[in-house]
């Protein structure tokens, strides 16, 4: 009985981890005042890169690193357009997603049906056998640990370091930040690249841990859900952790309900995570004061330094 609960929580953690990592990256990007709607595209590029590199080298760790690198390089395409030549952030982010889905489909075509390489769990002998929480805390895949470390790392960076404070000031008022001599665009470039690296890592989690194989379009909207999570969390890392696990629970819950065969059409259950996203967005956004207070004031606004 206890093991069953632990297993359910474990699967929830596996479903939540990619959402959490991608959303954390986007949180930092948005805190710097940039809205990158290309999360889905960067994530799927990370997924295909992780799979391909792991398959070619036989080493899933290299796959993970490759995904991080490709994710951040891919985000630079977006970064160059919106930062250096001040294009519309919504449209550019969308085009990054469209391009990522297209490119990954092209690159991944030869991998369809190939078995992938799985990133093995890190198990601490002894501790892993503690009932109820042993496997949860001491026997998971490495990306899970990275995701938890990232939550606290991002929290510490944003709210406890001077650089984090500066990054937030860039997102809240780029003109004042510029007047103070802060290199606004440089901060935003680094934030965008961090977001890309996180999205790439989140994608790698899908192909190296979640389902070690390549399926075209396998992110199936997770990048978009991550974007919604950032709003849900009102740009706070800890709330993001809660939100990602809530969504993990919804998507695992619907899978279990499908397996039980409750007579509810599977398509209806599959649509639950998307419907939940909408409901959550509505609930959070209704509170206008909360959203206005937390939204980075310069979110989505292009910055062209006047010289």
């Amino acid at each position: 009985m206890m093991d069953m609960w632990q297993n359910i929580i474990l699967t929830i953690a596996t479903a939540a981890t990619p959402l959490l990592i991608a959303a954390l990256g986007e949180l930092v990007v948005e805190r710097s005042g940039v809205l990158n709607l290309g999360v889905e595209g960067m994530m799927i590029m990370g997924a295909v890169t992780g799979f391909a590199v792991a398959l070619a080298t036989g080493n899933p760790w290299l796959g993970m690193i490759g995904a991080i690198i490709i994710g951040s390089l891919f985000s630079l395409l977006f970064g160059f357009l919106v930062l250096s030549i001040a294009t519309n952030q919504v449209a550019t982010g969308l085009s990054l997603t469209l391009l990522g889905i297209g490119l990954s489909g092209m690159i991944g075509e030869e991998f369809v049906g190939e078995p992938g390489v799985k990133l093995s769990n890190i198990e601490i002998p002894g501790l892993v056998d503690i009932p109820l929480v042993g496997r949860l805390l001491f026997g998971q895949d490495p990306i899970f640990y990275i995701s938890i470390a990232l939550v606290f790392g991002v929290m510490w960076f944003l709210f406890k370091t001077r650089t984090g404070l500066t990054l937030r000031s860039v997102g809240d008022n780029h003109d004042s930040a510029h007047a103070l001599g802060i290199p606004v665009l440089r901060y935003r470039y680094f934030a965008v690249m961090f977001g890309g690296a996180c999205a790439g890592l989140a994608g790698a989690h899908l192909t190296l841990v979640y389902t070690p194989q390549w399926i075209e379009n396998m992110t199936s909207g997770r990048g978009w859900i991550a974007l919604a999570l950032v709003v849900f969390a009102s740009w706070r890392p800890l709330r993001l952790l809660a939100g990602a696990y809530l969504f993990g629970a919804v998507s695992i819950g619907q899978l279990h309900a499908q397996a039980l065969g409750l007579g509810i059409p599977s398509q209806f259950l599959s649509s639950l995570p998307y419907l939940a996203t909408i409901v959550v967005l509505v609930i959070i956004s209704t509170n206008r004061r909360l959203t206005l207070m937390n939204t980075p004031a310069c979110l989505g606004k292009p910055f062209v330094p006047a010289r």
Binding site: S95, T286, R307
Partner: protein, 362 residues
Amino acid sequence: MIRVELVKRPQHSNFYMLMSPFIAFGLTLVFGALIFLALGKNPFTGLYFYFIDPLSQVWSLHELAIKAGPLIMIAAGLCVCYRSNNWNIGAEGQFIVGAIFGSMIPILMPGFQTVLTLPLMLIMAMVGGAIYAGIPALLKARYNANEILTSLMLVYVAQLLLDWLVRGVWRDPQGFAFPGSVRFPPAATLPEMIPSQGDAHYGFLLALVAAIAVWFFLAKTLKGFEVSVLGLSPRAGKFAGFSASAMVFFSFMLSGALAGLAGISEVSGAIGQLREVISPGYGFAAIIVAFLGRLNPLGTIAAGLLLALTYLGGEAAQISLGISDKVVRVFQGMLLFFVLGCDTLVHYKIRIVSRTAEGSAT
């Protein structure tokens, strides 16, 4: 160290306003050629099959019209949305729901076959698309929820709804367990324009009419002016007495109706039944069409034809050269990237400066 610097033009450049889509297309061709090289194919034959071969035969011109129709129709509606700063990116879902609504008539009332059948189907589809687009509009106007995310989430929901219908309650009992509805009777089929030459149906004509009508609306009517004012300056619009939340509903439901119309034209004119997949991503490609057409409905006609050409070219290149049809999506994505990049030229001069030169200047 090289840096890009933007210098604001005192007035936007009409030259680049006109030329930027062409520059973007040119850049796409160059990078497309590089992709073909990377795939080990001759770039010139690759580009030939992509962009010229489909234009060389009458039947493939018909195919071009079939693919361009939905793209133009959807993009014309999206122009209204994007101009008024309402980011409807769920046209793919509105396309599907429109098709479902329109298909209700031939599927649920197979006996009803008169001259009214087809017009009623088209109207139903527009109503369906408009209602479905009304959801994110309502959530934005009333609850302040981000319309980009809600409209996109509804795409997945619409796809699942269609899947459920054609595998379940609407499956053709005589269909040998294949997912799909009954085939539509002739009275419910959008007829072909020139049956002796090819398959193009009247959907293309509908698309042209829609694009011209939306253009007239935007350029010549007060409501169209309201769209631009609210898009460019919501504050100015407020002082003029225009309601931003009414515009949310108006733009979303108009574009939803057009996407729904595109959905039923595709199902009734090109496919002939409701299936589990009815769109090769028209709703997303139409976003590219709208921007490539510079958010001008007349521009979307040319842009829609070009994007349709990439779909056909993808098929041609796959058959003749064995190039994966996945390359199409890459082409389309690159095209949007370059279009957006080139649009900067309309408002800014781009200067490439090296750090050292700047240092000596200041």
